[in-house]
């Protein structure tokens, strides 16, 4: 009897993938091929719009990582967007560096700066952390207005020589910047999905669902938050450098704009689905559809977005994608963790005994 039981022993394996995420992966792959080929089927305006959408998906995904998973609601992420932009301009103009090299450099500086920022702002809890991040961003606006070397309040532009150093032809530049935006958003989402599949991701998801319970299970909440905040600052800085590389000019107000780089990003994330990787993607699509349709009515789209965001917060707190995901169990990225029973072949029993920690 006992021998038979050993024969029938089961082991468990954690599986991320299921049918919907298998479909999702195929969907993303096809979409990526289609979008990567945009220079061959789209005109200049389409590509610019797509590039802008990618940058917003990247920013919203990062904000979602902070607010949706780590519980850090920041309304000061424009600090890193603007700083990344300024690093590019200063590096290219004063340092004579190739602009494309300045993009990761901008990210690096933001990542480094994020450490002291965290040490100060983590002293504030919850909503007070939120306004603290905002005060910090205000400091940057005020300081950059005073710095004559970067043009003060009127800002600086990228001269033609620097612009041409990226690529000689205008088409070449536009294509390159488009692909860089696409690469950025793929890298950001890819990285987030990868992180979420590791034990840090499990820690983050635990913090998202219940901070107290996460702590009592031995998760170092502050350390996890610090890592996430620094990583997001790094990526935000790169995004900012790219965004202002395309804009060709930068001022303290455009660089550290709370409306452009934070409020819109919050709407995108909240409407699409906070705490879901798919959320910001869906949210960005809704945001840009609304903006394009209501383009003739000035800032009306912001009022509509505000109303939608409030309704979503009241009626479906996990956003539109969260609603769908909760109801049908869909996921377009292989993120869920399911225990699968696998039969053990006696020889392999020892190897399978160590159940993966994640």
């Amino acid at each position: 009897m006992i021998a038979a039981k050993v024969q029938d022993a089961f082991s468990f394996r954690v599986s991320h993938i299921d049918r919907s995420s298998r479909f999702g992966l195929v969907f993303w792959a096809l979409l990526l091929i289609l979008l990567a080929a945009a220079p061959f089927w789209g005109d200049r305006q389409t590509m610019r719009l797509l590039g802008e959408i990618y940058s917003y998906i990247a920013l919203a995904s990062l904000w979602n990582l902070l607010a949706g998973y780590a519980g850090l609601v920041s309304i000061g992420q424009q600090v890193f967007v603007g700083l990344g932009g300024y690093v590019l301009y200063v590096g290219a103009l004063a340092g004579g560096l190739p602009p494309l090299l300045c993009v990761p450099l901008g990210g690096l500086l933001c990542g480094v700066l994020a450490v002291p920022v965290v040490l100060v702002l983590f002293r504030l809890r919850g909503a007070y952390f939120t306004i603290g991040t905002w005060v910090l961003a205000e400091v940057f606006v005020q300081v950059f207005q005073q710095v004559k070397a970067v043009g003060g309040g009127s800002g600086i532009s990228l001269p033609a020589v620097v612009v041409k150093s990226i690529a000689q032809s205008r088409d070449g530049r536009e294509f390159l910047i488009y692909w860089l935006f696409l690469a950025l958003v793929v890298a950001v989402i890819g990285l987030i999905v990868t992180i979420l599949r590791t034990r840090y991701g499990l820690a983050l998801t635990a913090i998202r669902d219940n901070e107290m319970a996460a702590k009592s299970n031995g998760i170092d909440v502050n350390r996890t938050r610090l890592i996430v905040f620094v990583a997001a600052a790094f990526a935000n800085g790169m995004a900012g450098a790219l965004i202002f590389l395309q804009k060709l000019s930068i001022t303290p107000f455009s660089a550290f704009s709370i409306n452009d780089w934070t409020m819109n990003v919050i709407f995108i994330t909240v409407i699409g689905g906070i705490g879901r990787v798919e959320g910001p993607i869906l949210g960005a699509v809704i945001f840009f559809v609304l903006r394009e349709f209501l383009a003739d009515y000035g800032s009306a789209y912001l009022i509509v977005l505000g109303v939608i965001a409030i309704v979503v917060m009241l009626k479906a707190r996990r956003g539109l994608w969260g609603y769908v995901a909760d109801r049908y169990g869909w996921q377009l990225f292989p993120l869920a963790r399911r225990l699968e029973r696998t039969r053990i072949v006696p020889d392999a029993a020892a190897a399978a005994a160590t159940i993966e920690a994640h």
């Binding site: 504030l124 809890r125 919850g126 306004i131 005060v135 409020m263 009022i303 409030i310 707190r317």
Partner: protein
């Protein structure tokens, strides 16, 4: 004597900041809600005063008789109709008030354009009192400071000497137990918001007499109020008054060194307090 003058101006301005902060601090104390739309409501009430003044041909001080009750009603309605439904978790109230803030700003923009407005109070704006041979202070800032201190004192009395204040404190300590004791927390929350917005309305009219305002002026006011709270220490109204005054002095001194520095100086003081003494200068509850 010039410096005494500047510091005096800073103190008087600080009283106004404390008034912004008092409304913010009140609702945070009672229901742990940080109202991101606080500054935008201040501006909205300033616009309301502008039109009430024009319609009824009255001055800004008289307009308070209309604006303050209206603000309290709006506050009660806003809390019962919307904000009560967001309480409980940390994210929803924050995100809903962010949405509210953007909606208010853009509605004001649609109706009133980007033009700046100002409330005119007449001769009192230029009247001043000579305290010392070299120290003269405007009557208007002096009145505003006195009213701000009086309102904060009034809030203190409401909080610690009245049945409503007891209900506020009980709900703040434990909403569930407060409800078990027969308090209707939804009503208490709405009363707190009504009181907060009544204070905010006074602050809105006062600041609009002093400076030009436009639809996007609100966030700045929210930041000043928030800084006053943190500098002074959470949970103490007198601390908030002290925080507002310190902020006002910092801004006045900063502005003396460089025209671009007043706000920066205020932010620096705020960050310095955060680093050196994160619980604030006169805290009542641990942060």
């Amino acid at each position: 004597m010039e410096w005494v003058n500047i510091i005096f101006q800073g103190v008087l301005l600080g009283g106004l900041y404390a008034l912004f902060a008092a409304g913010l601090s009140l609702i945070f104390g009672v229901m742990r809600l940080v109202n991101i739309a606080h500054g935008d409501l201040i501006v909205a009430f300033a616009y309301m005063a502008y039109f009430v003044m024009a319609a009824l041909h009255i001055g800004p001080f008289t307009s308070l008789a209309v604006i303050v009750p209206a603000a309290a009603l709006i506050g009660y309605g806003l809390q019962r109709g919307l904000l009560n439904w967001t309480l409980g978790e940390e994210l929803p109230p924050l995100l809903v008030t962010i949405g509210l803030s953007v909606i208010i700003q853009n509605l004001l923009l649609v109706f009133f354009t980007f033009d700046t407005h100002r409330l005119h109070a007449g001769d009192i704006e230029i009247a001043s009192v000579q305290f010392l041979p070299d120290l003269s202070v405007g009557v208007l800032p002096l009145i505003q400071f006195a009213v701000a201190v009086a309102i904060i004192a009034g809030l203190q009395i409401v909080f610690y000497r009245t049945a409503l204040g007891r209900a506020f404190r009980a709900t703040s300590d434990d909403p569930v137990v407060a409800q078990l004791m027969g308090l209707e927390t939804r009503h208490i929350f709405a009363m707190a918001m009504a009181l907060s917005l009544a204070v905010v309305a006074v602050a809105g009219v006062f600041i609009a007499i002093r400076t030009d305002f436009n639809p996007f002026y609100g966030p700045q006011l929210l930041i000043f109020g928030f800084e006053a709270i943190i500098i002074g220490g959470l949970g103490s109204l007198w601390g908030t008054l002290a925080g507002g005054i310190l902020l006002g002095i910092a801004q006045a001194l900063g502005g003396q060194f460089n025209v671009g520095w007043p706000f920066l100086a205020g932010h620096v003081v705020f960050l310095a307090v955060l680093i050196v003494r994160p619980q604030g200068l006169f805290p009542k509850v641990a942060l």
